[in-house]
């Protein structure tokens, strides 16, 4: 294990310090643009506040639209992070090392935005605190509030714990910068890399990994409950919990891949993020795509086979009706594109994986949309079924949400290394041996047998 006392070769990880030390002008400008878009979103929100939720395109049957779609989508993406990183940590997948930090940041950043989207959707946002004053535990919305809060706390801690040694590194690296130094000093909690500290930290990380997984699973399960706990056609489904979790991880991985490619490009992280990482993540994405398709297929097949009239109205509106374009685009983006690209080793290049990921992100957003809107637009009673067109306010808030997410991400990378330095070091120092040890432990005791088999095969 690495210790910061043991002098780290700062030069070796120069690339990682660069964004902090010599922030690139282009990125600053880009952040400025993002902030401007966010401000535009804020302006939209002020307008919405001024005129009421009527400023959106929501209407009587279609009373949830972009905001809830974004909410589900963003919370879904948040699974990228913590869940994947926790699972990989638990599984001791060594290739995780340069990825975990990126994933965790996604989680934390995106959770805020998801939560904000739910606030956007409230008719009386200033009464949101009623949830805590007068909360009714029977309501899935309160389960949501609780589990999201828990997840936010847990994943913040989970992000922060492994960050401490790195902050200490930064503290030492930037000893000459007064404010920055002081900033890191506060947050490094006096980390000195002593074995005791390392032990505590490791225990902390392990505990958090264990804790975070059920919380993450619960978050999206509970979000699915918002829909499945109602009696509405194509919402009231038992499969929704796992379906949503699967979709969340699916979109999370895609988001992670996209962020990795982007950051690799702008921060020149090629030495850290190698094609192998993308290959592995690509395989993971492929698996999730297949799993997602399996869920979707069985969800729609059971609905179709039962042929319950109200259910079928929604079904047909998705399959052949008003929402068919969204639905089939979703299938194309979520299944056809990723499976076609990722099934072939040759196409699992960084570019290929990126294309598949972007496709999945778009597809998953559409998936949320096609789950929410068509059901609302086709209520049970013969009611004037509604048509929903988002207004520019909703588009503005959606754009604002996305750009604020990227902004937060870049802001983080502006102050903290986006790849865990100490974990890379740890990988070098401890991981290699550990892995070798572990692989050995998988295999039969005598090395001779192994060697002789190898020989046999080669001949």
């Amino acid at each position: 294990m690495h210790s910061s006392r043991h002098r780290l070769n700062f030069e070796e990880h120069r690339i990682l310090f660069d964004p902090i030390q010599n922030p690139r002008r282009g990125i600053s400008i880009f952040m400025g643009i993002l902030l401007a878009i966010t401000a535009w979103g804020g302006f939209c929100y002020i307008l919405q506040w001024r005129y009421g939720l009527g400023a959106s395109g929501l209407n009587q049957p279609v009373l949830w639209g972009f905001y809830i779609t974004n909410f589900v989508f963003f919370i879904g993406i948040s699974h990228a992070g913590t869940l994947i990183s926790a699972i990989l940590r638990m599984a001791k997948a060594e290739w995780r090392r340069p990825i975990t930090r990126m994933a965790e940041v996604i989680t934390v950043a995106v959770l805020y935005i998801g939560a904000a989207n739910i606030i956007f959707d409230l008719g009386r946002p200033e009464r949101a605190f009623f949830l805590f004053l007068y909360g009714r535990y029977q309501s899935p919305l309160l389960w949501d509030a609780s589990s999201i809060t828990a997840y936010l706390t847990a994943s913040s801690v989970f992000l922060y714990l492994p960050l401490i040694p790195d902050i200490a590194i930064l503290r030492d690296r930037f000893a000459d910068r007064k404010w920055l130094h002081r900033f890191y000093q506060v947050f490094s909690f006096g980390w000195d890399g002593s074995p005791r500290q390392q032990k505590v930290l490791n225990i902390g990380i392990t505990i958090m990994s264990v804790v975070v997984i059920p919380i993450a699973v619960s978050v999206h399960t509970v979000i699915s409950y918002i829909f499945s706990m109602t009696l509405q056609p194509m919402w009231h489904s038992t499969i929704f919990g796992p379906y949503f979790v699967c979709g969340a991880i699916f979109s999370g991985i895609a988001a992670l891949i996209v962020m990795m490619v982007v950051l690799r490009k702008i921060y020149h992280l090629e030495p850290y993020l190698k094609p192998i990482h993308f290959n592995y993540l690509g395989i993971l994405l492929l698996v999730m795509s297949l799993l997602w398709f399996y869920f979707t297929f069985s969800e729609y097949l059971t609905g179709f086979f039962g042929h319950e009239p109200t259910e079928m109205r929604v079904f047909w509106s998705k399959v052949t009706g008003t929402y068919a374009p969204y639905f089939w685009t979703m299938v194309f983006f979520n299944f056809v594109v990723p499976v076609l690209i990722l099934s072939f080793r040759r196409m699992r290049t960084i570019g290929g994986v990126l294309v598949a990921s972007i496709s999945v992100l778009a597809g998953m957003w559409l998936e949320r949309f096609t789950i929410i809107v068509p059901t609302l637009a086709n209520p049970r009673l013969p009611f004037p079924s509604g048509i929903y067109f988002p207004t520019w306010i909703e588009w503005g808030l959606m754009l604002g949400s996305f750009s604020f997410f990227v902004f937060l991400y870049l802001l983080f990378s502006r102050f903290f290394p986006i790849i865990s330095i100490w974990e890379i070091e740890e990988g070098r120092e401890v991981g290699l041996e550990e892995v070798e040890e572990r692989i050995r432990s998988y295999l039969p005791e005598t090395a001779g047998t192994f060697n002789s088999r190898e020989k046999e095969r080669s001949t």
């Binding site: 939720l53 008719g123 109602t230 009673l381 509604g386």
Partner: protein, 232 residues
């Protein structure tokens, strides 16, 4: 304790929509104007649902007035995160406007689409505000509103009875829609009283409930159109 319920005899109902306007007038329900109406934001606690089957000349249209059905097992109540909507001991599914945070979960959960949202602060010309019913609070923007069985009338009827030191009679409390129905197709009363009109009619072989199979146990019973007579 009473359990308030309604019976609507579809064989007598003429789809005249008087109930609907009576409700708007009684409960200060705003009109939303052309632009909002085109976006599907008309608020109308009671609505006449129409359903047409067949092709000319073999056609059939059914009209069903749908107030809030005040389910005994209301799907909307379960999902409200702040107790803004709840089923009171007398069976009225109430909406407390000043508690509502406007999340619209209850609207999404209601299979009857009986809840409405104030998408804006609806304003009407000052002169028309004089026509507001002072007994009913004017809902503000961003909250969900719905039929309350005119519970403010219950409050006042009960208060009158208490002031006269007697029990309130069931017939002192009638919602505005029932009061004005020109063809007397709507009945209102205490379902706990086996001899009340609503209980008797509820046992009619013509009786049915909307979307009965959902198990929401609505307290608004409909009587089918047709030959067979109510038990009155």
């Amino acid at each position: 304790m009473a359990l308030w319920g309604m019976v609507i005899d579809l064989d007598k109902c003429t789809a005249c929509q008087a109930c609907l306007i009576a409700c708007k007038s009684e409960n200060n329900v705003p009109f939303v104007g052309k632009q909002q109406a085109d976006r599907g934001r008309i608020i109308s606690w009671l609505e006449i649902i129409s359903e047409t089957e067949g092709e000319y000349p073999e056609v059939r249209t059914r009209f069903i007035p749908r107030p809030c059905l005040h389910c005994d097992n209301p799907p909307c109540v379960k999902v409200c995160p702040v107790y803004a909507t709840y089923r009171n001991p007398e069976g009225i599914v109430a909406q407390i406007w000043e508690r509502c945070i406007g999340c619209r979960f209850c609207m999404a959960a209601c299979p009857y689409a009986a809840k409405y949202f104030n998408w804006h602060q609806y304003r009407i010309p000052e002169s028309m505000e004089k026509g507001f019913n002072p007994d009913v609070y004017v809902r503000r923007w961003g909250v969900v509103e719905k039929c309350t069985f005119c519970s403010h009338r219950l409050l006042r009827a009960r208060d009158r009875a208490a002031a006269e030191k007697r029990e309130m009679r069931a017939d002192e409390y009638v919602p505005a829609c029932v009061e004005v129905c020109p063809s007397k197709a709507m009945y209102f009363g205490d379902l706990n009283d086996p001899d009340s009109v609503v209980s008797v009619l509820g046992r009619s072989p013509r009786a049915f409930h909307l979307l009965e199979d959902l198990g929401t146990e609505p307290k608004v019973t409909y009587l089918m159109e047709g030959e067979r007579h109510a038990l009155l």
